[in-house]
């Protein structure tokens, strides 16, 4: 199963991707987390800390600068340039780079192509995409099975999320899941329902425990495993692990 996590910047994509990846890994599935953002921060939310997160970016930049051998395949990219994260998740930074070698599997292709190339027969890939709609637009050819659209109840985030969801629906990109973050009250629930009358969102409450984890640079699953927000995201992962009704 390949899962793409998309949405406006700052809406909680990376937190969602991290909880999804670790929860699915805890269920015993080999899990690969791909950070497709040119400003990669998934390592922090997975619980690897700033130093390792920064080192992964440095490797990617070294490839870009021609100081590091390119990987010969998607699998080698994950093996050589990835790191082991908690709960057995493997994390690789695969953001597009400025100076790709044409045809090179590790850089001459976009994260979308890499997702297509990766063979995960009995495992899971969770891809944390770059913010905005550009990457969703390039998901044609169905490189993923599930698209998780993450929104918060602000006008801007809901608009981006709606357009992302429409793209997924219009082009049959895969199963669609909606995560609504930072939900404060019934007004927020109503705002989300007004924009997404067709979807049943996973409601993630606005939770001071997540704010605190993000301030401290810790994985929400480690810092606040019993918080309402983390429990909601764990519930989403468990739902995705069950095949969609046909």
């Amino acid at each position: 199963m390949k899962i793409a996590v998309v949405g406006k910047g700052g809406s909680g994509k990376t937190t969602t991707a991290a909880v999804l990846a670790r929860t699915l890994a805890r269920q015993g599935q080999p899990t690969l987390a791909l950070d497709c953002d040119s400003n990669p921060n998934l390592g922090i939310s997975l619980g690897l800390g700033e130093e390792i997160t920064e080192r992964l970016l440095a490797v990617r930049e070294a490839v870009d600068a021609g100081e590091e051998e390119h990987a010969a395949s998607a699998d080698e990219l994950v093996r050589r340039f990835g790191v082991d994260a908690p709960d057995g998740v493997r994390l690789a930074v695969v953001s597009a780079i400025e100076h790709p070698h044409p045809g090179c599997p590790c850089c001459g292709i976009s994260p979308e192509h890499l997702l297509r190339e990766l063979v995960m027969e009995d495992g899971v890939v969770v891809a944390d995409f770059e913010a905005g709609l550009g990457t969703v637009m390039r998901l044609d050819g169905r490189p993923v099975d599930v698209v998780v659209v993450v929104v918060e109840p602000t006008a801007k985030s809901l608009e981006v999320g709606r357009r992302a969801a429409d793209l997924v629906i219009e082009t049959s990109l895969g199963r669609l899941a909606l995560v609504a973050n930072r939900v404060r009250d019934l007004d927020d629930v109503a705002r989300i329902a007004a924009v997404f009358p067709d979807l049943e969102p996973v409601l993630v409450p606005d939770d001071q425990a997540i704010v605190e984890a993000e301030r401290r640079g810790l994985a929400p699953l480690d810092a606040a495993p019993d918080s309402a927000a983390v429990r909601a995201l764990v519930g989403l992962a468990e739902g995705l692990a069950v095949p969609a009704p046909t």
Binding site: G10, T154, K156, E159
Partner: protein, 252 residues
């Protein structure tokens, strides 16, 4: 004054840029607010509706230069005329120009993109103040999207991911030889947040904006914080930022 707001997605760049543009315009400056992001963002924070405020493709023409196609503004059109004609009139007299909304999966924004850059290259000589809201993240912000700016305001909130992004931007600014770069700390919750964040990014602290529940409400309603809570903490903090940057420009 020409400033560009950069930083991680979701740290509040648009809210601060929109407020900054309007406060600056109230001091009598001729202000162009620029949204370089194809998704709507700055419009809400300026208090205008979300309609497209981009340059139509036909204001840009192709020409042959050095054996490849190049783009320029239509013959005789100056940057100021382009702004007067196509930029949306916004509250407090701000003019608002947007790179253009993404118009679907195969939208070709080449012309809009080059037209936008051409306008930007001309405006500094034509007496405009520019307040730019750059795309989130670290993708070439300084010498491309923000090359008109004299001052870059790196917006950082006191989270690990945002601080890390601020550090990366500081490094890029250094590599690319960007002009003055400083940090504006947003969503300050504890007394030492601003100093601590500035220190960790290695950038000079130019401003500090407290966590403001009214801003969260304005963002939910899709209205400008300056209209929703005109005298609240965000408006006051951005007012101080505008004042200190103006004093700095005048002292040079």
């Amino acid at each position: 004054m020409r400033v560009a707001f950069v930083g991680k997605g979701g740290v509040g760049k648009s809210s601060l840029a929109g407020t900054f543009a309007r406060v600056l315009a109230r001091t009598g400056e001729r202000v162009l607010a620029l949204d370089s992001d194809p998704m709507p963002g700055l419009a809400f924070s300026l208090g205008v509706d979300r309609d497209d405020a981009g340059l139509p493709d036909d204001v840009v023409e192709e020409y042959d230069g050095d054996a490849r196609v190049r783009y320029r503004l239509r013959d005789g059109l100056t940057g100021t005329q382009a702004v007067e004609t196509y930029a949306r009139r916004s509250p407090d007299g701000v003019r608002f120009l947007q790179l253009g909304k993404a118009r679907g999966p195969r939208w070709n924004n080449t012309r809009a993109h080059f037209g936008f850059q051409n306008v930007l290259d001309e405006l500094p000589d034509e007496g405009w103040s520019i307040v730019g809201d750059l795309p989130g993240g670290t993708r070439q912000p300084f010498m491309t999207w923000g090359r008109y700016a004299e001052t870059f305001l790196v917006v950082v909130e006191p989270t690990a991911a945002s601080v890390l992004t601020g550090r990366r931007l500081a490094r890029l600014a250094d590599m690319e030889g960007a002009p003055r770069v400083g940090v504006v700390v947003n969503r300050v919750r504890e007394v030492d947040d601003a100093d601590r964040v500035a220190q960790r990014t290695g950038l000079p602290l130019l401003g500090s904006v407290p966590f403001d529940p009214a801003l969260a409400t304005a963002d939910r309603l899709g209205v400008a914080i300056l209209d929703h809570d005109p005298d609240g903490p965000t408006a006051v903090a951005v007012g101080s930022l505008v004042e200190s940057l103006r004093a700095d420009v005048e002292s040079r």
